[in-house]
Structures are given as structure tokens and as C-alpha cells.
Symmetry: C2
Subunit: 340 residues, 2 copies
């Protein structure tokens, strides 16, 4: 069992810097595309044997130090009662966006074993097969709220902010319900065998610090405080985190995932000594010539040394256009240059 990842999460000594890649199970891998050729995205998420299979693919192909459950953050809103569809072009659609008290009231608190048993099953299969730690995950409450209120992705998040600004009581009610669902969902994942969890707050970076503090932070804190008793490392990733570091310090995460826009040294300085960090190579750096990619890897590894712990990762998900060879080279370079 390779436990380098878990040790780095806890800030313990490691023989080298562990690395995994956000969206490492995905379209850039031919073996993933082979599976997807026969099954649509959502069916793949909901078929434990297949979800487990594609979860394992990048571990074998790239030699990463952690696996992350193959799933999608929107299975939770679906389990709460929304209609979820994926189109290959336009991104996810959640039918009947949640914008009224009645719509919030209609949402249920899902029982993971009942409504998302495929996740539990996939985790159990994975734990019996993996030689690296398995990361469970969920969308963070705010990020899930944006999809539920907008009915899918958004550029301006106008409906979300309208609800926040014009009907804060309703927004808090919705966040409350989502938070309870996320806590239950991640607890179930951990009890089924997930050895760490990551909370993806992909869209929290569209808020200024004051709005983050009022509308996001309390729910992240509560989620992580509740999950604390499960005893596994907790990673909190905010895309576009630079302006929010002072608030992110208060979340209670063990590890903070850092996007690529900020110098990792500045992020560590802004966060303080309490946190391990994860990140933060620009996903587009995988298109660099090999020697330049190595330079970027070395620079990030050097900066990571000032944190309590460092898990190497991209600053956002790997792009479908990436070359597998370059992802392999990245993992190899991280291991080689970080060897103690």
C-alpha cells in the first residue's frame, strides 16, 4: 500500500512528493474513451464495475499516488430530486432550476445507500483492488447551489447572486439543505472506504471575500466540522482562490487545493502554516516541451516545500486534448525531482 498521499495530507515525512491529477480518469485516456464508446456518461457514473474500472485506469497508466472515485458532483442534486441530463456539447442541464421556496421545499435529503448505491458499490470494489489511497469527493455546497439555481453552468451566476442578494433567507435555506446532503453523502463514502475526501468549490471564486464569508464559509466549515469525526484527510479546492485565502483559512480543511493562477508561494503565505497544499500546475503546461515542463515542475516542488505538506496536482482538471505521454512524464518528473 502506497500511503505517500495520505502522509502528505497529514503533513508527515514522505519519501517523495505524491501526485495525482484532477480529472485523471477522463477523455484524454484512450482506455477511458473505449469504455465511453459503449455507455453514456451518467450510466458510466452509475455502473459500479465500470466506474471502478475507469477510476483505476489512470493509476495503472500514469503511476499516480492516489485514485479519485469516478463520478460527477451533480449526482447529489439529482438524488435531491432534480432532473439531470448531460449533453456531450452543451454541458450538464438540471431541469426546473431551484428559484422559489416551493422548489427548495421539494428537495429531499437523500440517503446515499438508497439513492446513490452505485457510489458505495464502486468504493467497495475499488478498495479491494487499489494499491493507492482512494479519494471520495463531492461538490461543495455553494458550487452545487449554483448548478441547482442556474439549471446548469453559467458565466455570470446572475440567478445565484440574485437569490443571495434579494432573498438571502431562501438562499441560506437551500444551502442548509445542500450542506446536510453533502455531509451525509461524504460520510457514506468514507464509511464505505474512501480514505480522504475532496470538496470541489469550483465556483466560489466568483464571489468577493465578503459574500464568500456570508454565504459560503459557514457551510464549508459545517461540512468539514461534521466530517472531522470520520478521521480522514479533507481537501478543499476553490478554483480562483487568490482573493479568498484569508477566508479559506477558516474552513477547517487539512489540505487546500490551489488553482494555477496564483504563485504557490503566495498561496502558502496567504494560508499560513496550518495547511498542506495541493496543486498547482496550469493544465495547459502539459503542452510544454518536456524540458520546460520539468522546469515548471521543479519550481512548484521548490515552492511546495514551505507548506506543511504538498501534494502535486494540476491547478484545475486535465484537458481532454492532453497527450497521455505528457501526463505520464509529469508524474515521473514529480517523483524524480522530489525524491528525498
Amino acid at each position: 500500500m502506497n500511503d505517500t498521499f495520505l502522509k502528505a495530507c497529514r503533513g508527515e515525512e514522505v519519501p517523495y512528493t505524491p501526485v495525482w491529477i484532477m480529472r485523471q480518469a477522463g477523455r484524454y485516456l484512450p482506455e477511458y474513451q473505449a469504455v465511453r464508446a459503449n455507455v453514456d456518461f451518467l450510466t458510466l457514473c452509475k455502473t459500479p464495475e465500470l466506474a471502478a474500472k475507469v477510476t483505476i485506469q489512470p493509476v495503472e497508466r500514469l503511476g499516480v499516488d492516489a485514485a479519485i472515485l469516478f463520478s460527477d458532483i451533480l449526482v447529489v442534486p439529482e438524488a435531491m430530486g432534480m432532473r439531470l441530463e448531460f449533453s456531450d456539447k452543451g454541458g450538464p442541464v438540471l431541469g426546473e432550476p431551484v428559484r422559489t421556496k416551493a422548489a427548495v421545499d421539494r428537495l429531499t435529503l437523500p440517503d446515499t445507500e438508497d439513492s446513490m448505491p452505485f457510489v458505495i458499490e464502486a468504493i467497495k470494489i475499488l478498495r479491494s483492488e487499489l494499491k493507492v489511497p482512494l479519494i471520495g469527493f463531492s461538490g461543495a455546497p455553494f458550487t452545487l447551489a449554483t448548478y441547482m439555481i442556474e439549471g446548469g453552468g453559467s458565466k455570470t451566476f446572475l440567478h445565484t447572486k440574485k437569490m443571495m442578494f434579494q432573498n438571502p433567507g431562501l438562499f441560506h435555506l437551500l444551502m442548509d439543505k445542500i450542506t446536510l446532503s453533502v455531509i451525509a453523502y461524504l460520510s457514506s463514502q468514507i464509511r464505505a472506504g474512501a480514505q480522504a475526501v475532496q470538496l470541489f468549490d469550483t465556483w466560489a471564486g466568483v464571489l468577493g471575500p465578503e459574500d464568500y464569508k456570508e454565504f459560503v464559509l459557514p457551510y464549508v466549515k459545517r461540512t468539514l466540522a461534521e466530517l472531522r469525526k470520520e478521521g480522514v484527510p479533507m481537501i478543499y479546492f476553490v478554483n480562483d482562490c487568490a482573493a479568498l485565502l484569508k477566508e479559506i483559512r477558516k474552513t477547517g480543511a487539512d489540505v487546500v487545493g490551489v488553482d494555477w493562477r496564483i504563485d504557490l508561494k503566495d498561496a502558502i503565505k496567504g494560508l499560513g502554516k496550518k495547511f498542506a497544499v495541493q496543486g498547482n500546475l496550469d493544465p495547459c503546461a502539459l503542452f510544454l516541451p518536456p524540458e520546460k515542463l520539468e522546469d515548471k515542475v521543479k519550481a512548484i516542488l521548490a515552492k511546495g516545500e514551505s507548506a506543511k505538506g504538498h501534494i502535486f496536482n494540476l491547478g484545475h482538471g486535465i484537458l481532454p486534448e492532453s497527450q497521455v505521454e505528457n501526463a505520464i512524464a509529469l508524474v515521473e518528473a514529480v517523483h524524480r525531482f522530489s525524491e528525498r
Copy 2:
């Protein structure tokens, strides 16, 4: 002549904090929509009388302290030889994206009087009619480069970064050509009567500080150094600036435009004492109830006091869905709460 805006740009004493709104001439205004009902967007940009008319509309309607020329940043790539189209849905399209040496070589250095005479004409009309200063503008070299390389908007800027990373020589050649075009374009605007200029670097925030330093900063510096001799205040706006402040300090701008994601206090601290700042209310704050909007205005005004000068603005363009009454209330609140 109301010169409060120009005084604030220079860090001089002002009787109140001046305010204008990015995209203040736009779809949220019924009188703008009335003009657009008869003419497409690009024709509007290229018809001096109409461009001047919609430039003046928000000055009269909102009582802002500055006008900004109605135009689009993509008229420059068009003048350099690209084919430009606007669809009302999908955003701008630049035909035949620039991705090869041959494509870069084909680009011309436009003479503003020859290829964009409508801009010069509009400025002359405006200067004879306006009682507030007129801001000229251009896309910053990097932001123009992204549109030219991607062929329009982008989520990941993969083609741009691919060129930067795989063919930096070609990327620098393109940036060089764009920079010369921008310098000539803004010089012409100033000579025609623009009393300040704003450089919009809408997409520079998708780069980390090291890439910004290598691929963006030299061209912004050169642009602003060349324009310095024209003697008007220069505003540099980077959307998503939080992680780049240390580099933005080196640009030579008089005023730094600050997006809404960062606490204005932190932005001023990161920039240091040399700069006036412009910003930074979340455009969605216009959907707040009046008293809450006033609270946000007061908070930003208080933070702005620690800068060399402060021009109130949104942190990004006003949304088309905004209510005119709320924009009027915003301008009025800024004036009322900032009166010395």
C-alpha cells in the same frame, strides 16, 4: 467641464468620488436598445454619429463623471486584416484564427485614420458635445491575442497557451505586432481628443504570475511607456487581478482597474501607494435592495480612501439584465456618500 474623474486619476483632491460604469453604454438602457433596433452592433460601432449618441446616453441618464467611447476591442484585429463577425447569441467570431507564422506575417499595422476613421470622427463629435471627460480605450495586447488565436472567446485558452508554450517566438512576434497596433490606435484616439485611456486586459487573469511576467507584462509596459508622452491618464484593467498585483505594479499605469473578486483594501495594499484605483463593485450588486446596495457602496468608498485616488466603478461590465433605476441609484449613492 466636470474634471473630477481626471483629478482622481492623477491623485488630486476631489470634491467627491467620481464614478462611471464599464459598459455603461449598453443593452440595459432602453434608449440604447432603441438605436440597436435599427442597426447591428458592428455598424453602430462604425457610424460616428450613432456611436457618439450611445456614448452620451449614459452620461445624461446616469449622471456619471466620465464617458467612454462606444466601440469594441475587436475593431483592431479587424483593421489588422482579420474577418470580424458578431452574432447576438454566440459572441464575436474572428475568421481564420492566427496560429502560424504565415498568419502573423499577413497581419498589417493599421493606420487608424485610414482603417478606423469612425473612431476618430466619433471622438471629435463627442468632445464638442460632452461636459465630462472622454475615455478612449483598447484591448490590451494579450487579450487581443487570445481572440485572434482562439478565433473568438474561449474557456481554456488552449490555443493561446499552446502557442505561448510551444512556439514562444511566434507568440512574441504576434504580441509585438499587436502592441504596435495598440500604441498607434490609442495615440490616435488621444490626438483626436480622448482625455484618458483604458487598456482592457480581460483575459490576462487566466495566466499565472510567471507566464504573465514573460508573455504579457513587457507589452503592457511598452504600450504605456509609449503613450506616456501623450500626457493623459492611463488606466489598466485586468479582470481577475488578485494573483497578479505584484506584476501589475510594474506596468506604469496611473490607475489600476480592480475586478470585484478581491477586497479593494487588499488590492490597494498589494499595489502600493503609487496607483489610483478604479472599481470594484460586483456587477450583480445592482440587484441588491437599495439599502444593501448603499452599504456596499459605502464600504468600497471607505476602502478606496487609502489609495492615491479612487474612481468608483463596477468590477466588470454592467449586465444587460440590470435595471436602469438601480444604475442611477448607484451613481447617486457614490456621489452622496463621498461628498467631502
